[in-house]
Amino acid sequence: MNRICFHFQISQPFRLRTYRFFDINQNHDYFDDYQNHYLAQRLAERCYLPANKMMLELIRKHPKSFKLSFSIAGSSIMLFKNYCPEVIESFKELIATGCVEITGNTFTHSIASLHGKDAFLEQVHLQEKLLKETFGVKPVSFCNTEVIYSDEIGEWLGEAGYEVVLTEGARHILGWKSPQYLYCNPYQTDVRLLLRSYRLCDDVTLRFNDHSWDQYPLTAEKYIKFLDSTNTSGDAPFINLYWDYETIGEHYTADTGIFDFFRNLIDQLSANPNYSFITPKEVLKMDDNPATMHAPWPISCSGEEKDTNEWVGNVLQQEAFNQLFKLEPLYKKSKNKEAKLSWLRLQGADHFNFMSSKWFGHRFVKRNFEVYPSPYQAFINYMNVLNDIKIQLEKK
């Protein structure tokens, strides 16, 4: 029996507007409301609403069989609340079926876990609060921004009460081991790890519409054959598939057949006796004895390297990152709610992604919307905003 875990990640950042240096200490309006509104609505129409509708139908069609989980960044929840509350309602409907698990994650799609425990747990707790308020749920599983994970991050999460963590089945960490088993953190053995089978995910994310791929077109039947072939001996029980939810309808628009692909896939897997769907927290009920997995350095789902260079790889990113977290003590002291929220939002992975000089070469990860003409302009804009936030946080 193969246990199959479908997990979808949802995040769009609060995009920055063009913020010039002469705005510093003049104007504290950092975010591009028009773009944020536009993007949230566009994604809602193309992806979240139709995809949620499809998932709901499938849950009803396959009762007790089809289950799935989501991680929804706090920044996205806030965008939905502001601009398209119907998305929130449709998630509530999904959660009400009992077949949908909402995992914990960060409040602003933050990369604070690369900085330190305090900043990270602040994000985690704020997100818990928001999930409680919005959906009335308390997560026990956790899916970090871009599934960033290390031994240390796992420990922090253990202390924060999480029992399952979703991360990447990074080959350089696993070596000969397979991502299709349950693992645990070496220092907090109560923290179980579900590792993503990224090749299988990439077959959809990167290759679904790739006409030059020898397996094109990808059908549900073909994909199930891929799944079958990963477990010929029958004792590698977990297939963990995590995708950006935007894959359905945005990265691949409806006319590519992406909706039909997922619908058929879920129909067929639900009917297939070799497979059963699980959500992350269900592993807690299983008796499997997990082996430990060491991740001394942070891993993520980025590119082929599965490291964190996409966000803190070049000197610009490192500088912005260091300057950002230098303000942590000010954040703790300040009473300026707006500036504090802005500081949290500036931790968003996307801001750093825009400064990536991977931009210069071949883009591996498909970026949704280009915002800046170059990483340099992204950096300048970011630093201008950060400078103003600093001034606002310093003010009594």
């Binding site: 010039r20 510093i24 000197v315 210069f360 201008n384």
Partner: protein
């Protein structure tokens, strides 16, 4: 190849390009006979007659000098008053100055002084046609497969050589009349000669996609025979020393102070930056017909204490200027290529360049803005001055990037264009 300037008398982009290209071609196994007009004052000492020119029935102004410079390249100088980089008006200026006995030529890079013994100017057309006659004679006596002519004053020479020899002609566009004079002040004589050359040519090389588009759209040249061939950089060992004697950061504009180069945008940008941060000095290095306007505007904005004029800089002073600069700005309104940002980058100075320049097409490690977007330019300057991580990255990557722009590679592309052209014939 009908080109301009050769060492040691290189004064600007066109000469550098001709030199780099010739050298690059030689490295790619292409033999070049380089023909150029020579308007230097020392022609009496250096000029000798072509030995086998007894059958050339032209007057003494066509005396030429020939020399082998490096393997594969031979070099013929033709005594002519043609000078590079000018439109019609510029040419008459030059002629006027020649009449008064001295000529001062101003280029982006440096200033040259020529002294002429013959005291009167000639009609440009006569000069161009005379040069074409010499070209035809040279074409008769030389062995070659293909003709390559640089910049509009030599196109007639190229056409003449083509007519005599029946060999294909490639013309090279370093600037168009639209760049020199703008959309509305186009000189029809110059435009006509440029177009004549492009039409007669079997292939047209443009120094950027920007220029290529102008050639196709404004000159009506069929796109299939127009190729983009970006410029490169001649490697040098000289290191520019970073040396500064003021505490403030320095932002530099270096170039002709003419409409085309956008100096007024530089002034407005300076005002934006200084409003926020008075600890910056702006330097405008160069001279030109907009100088008065610029000085007045600086005074009007009340930033004279932070805005400096150096006048025209040459040679070592340019290096010194780069050595002092923290940011180099090129806000050109229209720049077919624009070699000076590359020199700044080589001196480890971060650059902000206008998107309306050909060089923007080849650079990654430069901030590119629209020339009219003063806010964006100011923001880029401020960012480079205040966020050290940024300027450091620029300094390192920029130098590396420039050193990778090699004429050898450009010549390799040119060779392919040559081969295509020859195949068509």
């Amino acid at each position: 190849m009908f080109g301009w300037e050769f060492p040691p008398h290189i004064s600007g982009g066109l000469g550098t390009a001709c030199y780099g290209l010739t050298k690059g071609l030689a490295l790619n196994g292409v033999d070049v006979t380089f023909v150029m007009p020579h308007a230097s004052g020392d022609e009496d000492e250096h000029y000798v007659k072509i030995r086998n020119a007894s059958d050339v029935e032209i007057d003494t102004s066509s005396v030429t000098y020939r020399e082998h410079i490096f393997p594969g390249v031979s070099y013929i100088q033709v005594n002519s008053r043609l000078v590079p980089y000018v439109g019609l008006e510029g040419y008459y200026n030059v002629i006027d100055q020649m009449s008064s006995g001295t000529l001062e030529q101003e280029f982006t890079g440096s200033r040259r002084k020529h002294t002429f013994s013959s005291g009167y100017g000639k009609n440009l057309m006569q000069e161009v046609n005379l040069y074409a006659q010499v070209a035809a004679e040279i074409a008769k006596s030389e062995e070659f497969d293909l003709i390559h002519a640089h910049d509009w004053l030599t196109y007639r020479a190229g056409i003449a050589a083509k007519r005599v020899s029946g060999k294909p002609l490639v013309v090279h566009i370093h600037a168009t009349e639209y760049d020199r004079s703008g959309e509305h002040n186009r000189n029809d004589i110059v435009y006509g000669m440029e177009r004549e050359g492009m039409m007669a040519a079997d292939a047209v090389c443009a120094v950027s996609d920007l220029t290529r588009n102008i050639v196709i759209e404004k000159y009506g040249i069929p796109a299939h025979k127009v190729f983009t061939l970006h410029n490169a950089v001649v490697p040098t060992d000289k290191k520019v020393e970073r040396e500064k004697n003021v505490d403030e950061k320095i932002v530099t504009f270096l170039g002709r102070v003419t409409f085309q180069k956008g100096p007024d945008y530089f002034v407005e940008t300076a005002k934006r930056v200084l409003d926020k941060d008075p600890n910056v000095r702006f330097v405008l290095a160069g001279d030109g017909d907009m100088m008065q306007h610029v000085i007045e505007r600086v005074a009007e904005l009340g930033i004279s204490d932070r805005f400096h004029f150096t006048g025209f800089l040459r040679g070592a002073d340019i290096d010194k200027m780069f050595g002092m600069s923290d940011v180099y700005v090129m806000p050109s309104i229209s720049e077919p290529f624009g070699i000076s940002p590359l020199e700044a980058m080589r001196a480890k100075v971060p650059v902000v360049i206008s998107k309306q320049s050909g060089v923007a097409e080849v650079l990654q490690h430069a901030i590119k803005v629209d020339f009219w977007d003063i806010d964006a330019t100011a923001d880029a300057i401020y960012g480079l001055l205040h966020y050290p991580a940024l300027s450091k990255l620029f300094a390192d990557k920029g130098e590396e990037e420039v050193n990778n722009l090699k004429w050898e590679n450009v010549a390799k592309k040119l060779k392919v264009i040559y081969e295509k052209t020859l195949h068509y014939e």
